[in-house]
């Protein structure tokens, strides 16, 4: 079954995006990307360590002919910082896509709605394809769509928490309203979480910690890929409504008594 998704005019075959942070080794990361068979992977921008010039970088490990890079603005606390990081990333010539993150505090790691909207407006004006990371706020999601973002990426639950799709109802509203793809990001701990996100109509999922910190990241990458496909199929197949009471699945007529 071909069931690709189009983001900013680009057709993506896989509806799973993987992050590349927090793996125990680069080898485990490569194995996970391969097993999950994703196309889009997020990366961060950091200062080069000039005291260790021979250190391999992530680009030594990721085959950019196979995987498309999505640089994020992780670490930025204001719209200005995010714009600066995005431009630096773009200047490397690998992509004009950016996963926009404006996160003012380092404890809860929740995105700033005001700073994110400001940055998105400026980035779109500057020619970026913007995929903003947001709280589960349908009004903000709509505003980001209106200023020209390519997707919205609401969080399922706190980053790295593995709690799954906690605020389910608000994500459903975001999906209902959106005319751009909705990517559920952050907090997906197991394939059941990703499958659930897809079942309610999300277009894609982004997972990092759930794969990177699993005991076996490659196997977990494959599991998430399968979970996303299962959830997508279920969305298309039309699930049964939830009912309060039981109804038998064997016929009662003709039963021996």
């Amino acid at each position: 079954m071909d069931d690709s998704v189009v983001v900013a005019g680009e057709t993506l075959r896989s509806r799973l995006i993987l992050g590349t942070g927090k793996y125990r080794t680069m080898e485990e990361m490569v194995a996970a990307l391969d097993a999950a068979d994703v196309e889009l992977v997020t990366v961060a921008l950091r200062r080069l360590d000039l005291d260790d010039p021979s250190k391999k970088t992530i680009l030594d490990y990721i085959d950019t002919s196979r995987f498309r890079l999505l640089p994020n603005t992780a670490g930025c606390q204001t719209a200005e910082e995010a714009l600066r990081v995005a431009r630096l990333a773009r200047s490397m010539g690998l992509s004009n896509w950016v996963k926009l993150e404006v996160i003012p505090d380092s404890k809860y790691l929740l995105p700033d709605p005001i700073g994110t909207l400001d940055a998105a407006r400026d980035m779109v004006a500057d020619g970026f394809v913007v995929l903003p990371y947001i709280n589960d706020d349908p009004v903000l999601a709509k505003k980001l769509e209106d200023v020209g973002c390519a997707t919205v990426m609401p969080l399922a639950s706190p980053i790295g928490s593995g709690q799954g799709l906690v605020n389910f109802e608000q994500i459903k509203i975001i999906i209902e309203q959106a005319r751009i793809p909705v990517v559920v990001d952050a907090g997906l701990g197991a394939p059941s979480d990703a499958s659930l996100a897809m079942e309610i109509g999300a277009d894609m999922c982004l997972v990092n910690t759930g794969v990177a910190q699993a005991t076996n990241p490659a196997l977990m990458g494959a599991a998430f890929a399968e979970g996303v496909r299962a959830g997508r199929k279920a969305f298309l197949a039309g699930r049964i409504p939830k009912r309060e009471y039981a109804t038998a699945s064997s016929p009662m007529e003709g039963a021996l008594r």
């Binding site: 992050g19 590349t20 942070g21 927090k22 793996y23 680069m26 990361m29 997020t42 990366v43 961060a44 921008l45 950091r46 200062r47 080069l48 000039l50 010039p53 021979s54 970088t57 992530i58 680009l59 030594d60 890079l69 640089p71 994020n72 992780a74 670490g75 600066r84 431009r87 630096l88 990333a89 200047s91 490397m92 010539g93 996963k99 993150e101 996160i103 790691l109 990371y133 969080l155 980053i159 990001d185 952050a186 982004l206 997972v207 990092n208 910690t209 990177a212």
Partner: protein
């Protein structure tokens, strides 16, 4: 010797050092980095035109593994 700030730290270089020479000496592959020179981003095709001076601020960044924040 001249004083610069590279990646937020003070650093001494021989005067009139060219950016590409500096990168080469540091064994840094220009294909894998991005550069901000005195607050302005420099496209890779212009790396060769930059000559470093006393007091310059240089940011050299590269991509690392990352997901969210």
């Amino acid at each position: 010797m001249m004083q610069l700030t590279i990646n937020g730290k003070p650093r001494e270089l021989a005067p009139e050092c060219c950016l590409l020479d500096f990168l080469e000496k540091q064994q840094v592959n220009p294909q894998l980095i991005a550069i901000e020179y005195n607050g302005d981003i420099v496209k890779r095709e212009h790396f060769g035109e930059i000559v470093l001076h006393e007091g310059d601020r240089l940011e050299i960044v590269h991509m690392v593994g990352g997901g969210t924040q």
